[in-house]
């Protein structure tokens, strides 16, 4: 279900004229932003908490090997198994292998971005009956689309589109009247309940992995993760290695940050701590517990200046506050991670040459950094990717030539001023005050008039004249 990364511009253009998408985005945006703002008003120490979040993550990343070892030991001791997957393919193979060994027929999935990252859905669907239990994921599974937001995967869909999907898939009809949200939710719940009971395997992600206890922490608002992980015989959790935290104490700080940043809640409706497989005295729970830890480029990032990106807790605040994301939606970004965090992660995981538009399609306005719960310097990282793009000549030859020529000229102020002095009167011939069209400025004038230079010369020309007057 992955869409091609190339051709960001075409997708963005399409998104801008997609009325359904635009109305869905407009609705979502205000909700996320206002809710987060209100949640933070109620917590005066939020800034201090962000700093603590940053420190917790930095500390864990600095000692990741130790914590991984500790985590693995604790999971194993409690009847679970930890698997390491170096790349996407080995992650898929590991998970498929566990499913085959369990002679599975049905798989139920809770939302996992790590699963999306390694292309797990397609691989599973080819062999097993696979159902998404998160409502948003379920909707896009029916629509055969990738998620467009990391916490609200179907945020791009309108209620009318969801009505249509449900009517089609559940009742084999179409063109029915628009249905209310509770009605749609109830229907999905009914359909999914059956699936929970029939599934052999439950797959989830993990929000935090606790080294000290070997605990998997999951947060949801639908409770679907609890059912997905406790009813089937086998539970597989897939997560990036950066999800580790030292102990439960850190988890509580991180949970406070995550819920507020993601949905503006004090805490999500369900917070689940899973420690080990089912014990003899347990009433329920899976017989087998597997944790698949994926690297997929992460240890490489650990060693370079992009390390801080591994602090990301996948809250989605950066995209909720990104004016580019809210104009074009998540699919335009071309891979599973959209918005500012995706503009860094996609080039990291998939290569800069196939995603060079992502770090460029950003005004560097910095709002993402100001809301990030773990203080990732997103604009800085995005700009550093542009440096790499320029250095590795991924930036096109014309753009490079233009910027270098301009740089050459700007470093020769006398020549620069002579040229700009000559250009000014020429430019002023194109209109009075502003122009609807100016040669070579088509990109500007497509949607804006071009304000022409005002006054009797450049500032420097006029300043020289004035000073001349003063002297005489």
């Amino acid at each position: 279900m992955a869409v091609a990364e190339a051709d960001f511009r075409a997708r963005a253009r399409k998104a801008l004229s997609d009325e359904d998408l635009q109305s869905a985005l407009a609705k979502a945006k205000g909700g996320f932003v206002d809710k987060r703002a209100n949640a933070i008003l109620d917590l005066p120490e939020f800034e201090a908490l962000r700093e603590r979040g940053r420190q917790i993550k930095d500390h864990t990343l600095a000692h990741l090997d130790t914590y991984l070892e500790q985590f693995e030991g604790n999971v194993t001791r409690q009847g679970g198994q930890v698997h390491y997957a170096l790349d996407a393919e080995s992650a898929r193979e590991t998970i498929l292998g566990i499913c085959r060994d369990a002679a599975a027929k049905q798989v139920i999935k809770a939302k996992t971005m790590a699963g999306e990252e390694v292309g797990l859905n397609e691989a599973l669907e080819a062999e097993f009956e696979t159902v998404e239990s998160d409502l948003g994921e379920y909707i896009i599974q029916l629509a055969k689309e990738p998620p467009s937001h990391i916490i609200a995967p179907a945020v791009h869909k309108t209620r009318a589109q969801i009505t249509e999907l449900f009517d089609h898939h559940h009742h084999q009809k179409s063109g029915g009247p628009l249905r209310e949200t509770p009605d749609l939710v109830d229907e999905a719940r009914g359909v999914l309940r059956e699936k929970f009971l029939g599934a052999d395997i439950g797959i989830s992600g993990a929000n935090f992995l606790v080294a000290e206890t070997g605990t998997i922490t999951l947060v949801t608002n639908e409770g679907n993760a609890d059912l997905s992980t406790s009813l089937p015989r086998v539970h597989i959790a897939i997560a990036g290695v950066e999800k580790l935290v030292p102990s439960m104490r850190e988890v509580s700080s991180m949970l406070r940050l995550l819920a507020r940043s993601a949905t503006g809640q004090q805490i999500t409706a369900y917070t689940t701590f899973i420690t080990g497989a089912r014990r003899p005295e347990d009433l329920d729970g899976p017989e087998e517990l597997h944790v698949v830890l994926i690297d997929n480029g992460r240890t490489r990032m650990l060693g370079d200046e992009f390390r801080e990106m591994l602090r990301c807790i996948r809250c989605g605040a950066c995209m909720n506050h990104c004016p580019v994301y809210s104009a074009i939606g998540g699919h335009a970004y071309g891979w599973v991670y959209p918005g500012p965090m995706g503009a860094v992660l996609t080039p990291m995981f998939r290569g800069l040459d196939s995603s060079q538009d992502l770090p460029n399609a950003c005004t560097l306005n910095g709002r993402c950094q100001s809301v990030c719960p773990v203080k990732i310097r997103l604009p800085y990282l995005i700009r550093r990717l542009r440096d790499q793009s320029f250095e590795q000549q991924i930036t096109g030859p014309f753009a490079r030539w233009a910027i270098r020529t301009w740089g050459w000229l700007a470093r020769r102020p006398a020549l620069y001023q002579q040229l700009t002095g000559l250009m000014r009167p020429a430019l002023r011939l194109f209109g009075r005050g502003s122009a609807r069209r100016v040669p070579l400025a088509g990109a500007w004038t497509a949607g804006r008039d071009f304000p022409l230079p005002s006054g009797k010369g450049t500032f420097q020309q006029q300043w020289r004249e004035k000073r001349g007057e003063k002297r005489t």
Partner: protein, 259 residues
């Protein structure tokens, strides 16, 4: 106001390439306000641009070249002041371009410490009284992103504008959202940029303001260009024009008197 006895602070004006070329009036208003505040203003001739277009395109070599030029030519002043938050902000990033411990790095840090955006300089360093002006009308204010987030400029322009009793300020509903200018972004991704500035101008029109003020010419040209295209009669000006009483000059993108 500065103490008459104290030596006047020496200020080097970093004009910025956009002001130099498109709207010299902002430069003159800046000089006037700085002089009224008691500064001795010099405008070094050898200046062009702070280097943002190169820096934000990943051309670090050219950026460093420009940075050295600015460091050299603005070495002699107590303060360097620019009528733009993003250009002042760029100068403050120069140290990152040079190796830790190098002489250029030290010089860049020294320059960064002396560099200010004009409105925050007048308000916080010179601590001037809000200039009295007889400007009247409803205005709204666009906080440009670099000024707002990198330099913390938000209250300073509003404090300075409070000296105009007939100026009524109506705030934008999304005052912290980018206008879509973003330097080269606006021409690299014109569709997205136009959409963003369209949202911004919707917001501006909703305030009922007759004039939009701001502190960065790039954003203001973007906003003025979109307002003009929409046929909206809202005027766009840099805040220093109002503060210096230079509002008889046509607003950004407006037609000049014949002659």
């Amino acid at each position: 106001m500065a103490d008459e006895q104290a030596p006047r602070p020496q200020v080097g004006l970093f004009v910025t390439c956009l002001v130099d070329f498109f709207r010299p009036g902002i430069g003159f208003a800046s000089v006037e306000l700085l002089e009224q505040a008691g500064c001795q203003v010099t405008v070094p001739e050898a200046q062009s641009c702070c280097g943002q277009p190169a820096y934000n395109s990943g051309d670090l070599a050219d950026t460093a070249g420009l940075a050295r030029q600015v460091i050299e030519n603005f070495a002699a002043f107590d303060y360097v002041v620019a009528p733009s938050g993003s250009c002042a902000g760029q100068i403050k990033k120069y140290p990152d371009l040079f190796e830790t411990g190098s002489a250029w790095r030290r010089r860049a840090e020294d320059l960064a410490g002396r560099t200010y955006e004009i409105l925050s300089f007048l308000d916080e360093v010179m601590q001037i009284e809000p200039p009295r002006s007889d400007f009247s009308g409803r205005v709204t204010y666009h906080d440009s992103c670099s000024g707002l987030r990198q330099l913390g400029i938000k209250d300073q322009p509003r404090r300075l504008l409070s000296g105009s009793p007939a100026l009524e300020l109506n705030e934008l509903s999304e005052s912290e959202t980018c206008c879509g200018f973003g330097g080269t972004f606006c021409v690299k991704y014109p569709d997205i940029s136009t959409r963003m500035v369209n949202d911004k101008t919707d917001d501006i029109l909703a305030t009922g303001a007759e004039t939009v003020l701001g502190g960065d010419l790039g954003c203001l040209m973007n906003i003025a260009g979109r307002l003009k295209r929409r046929g909206a009669p809202v005027k766009v000006r840099h805040a220093v024009e109002v503060l210096a009483g230079h509002t008889s000059e046509p607003a950004i993108g407006d037609e000049e008197e014949a002659g």
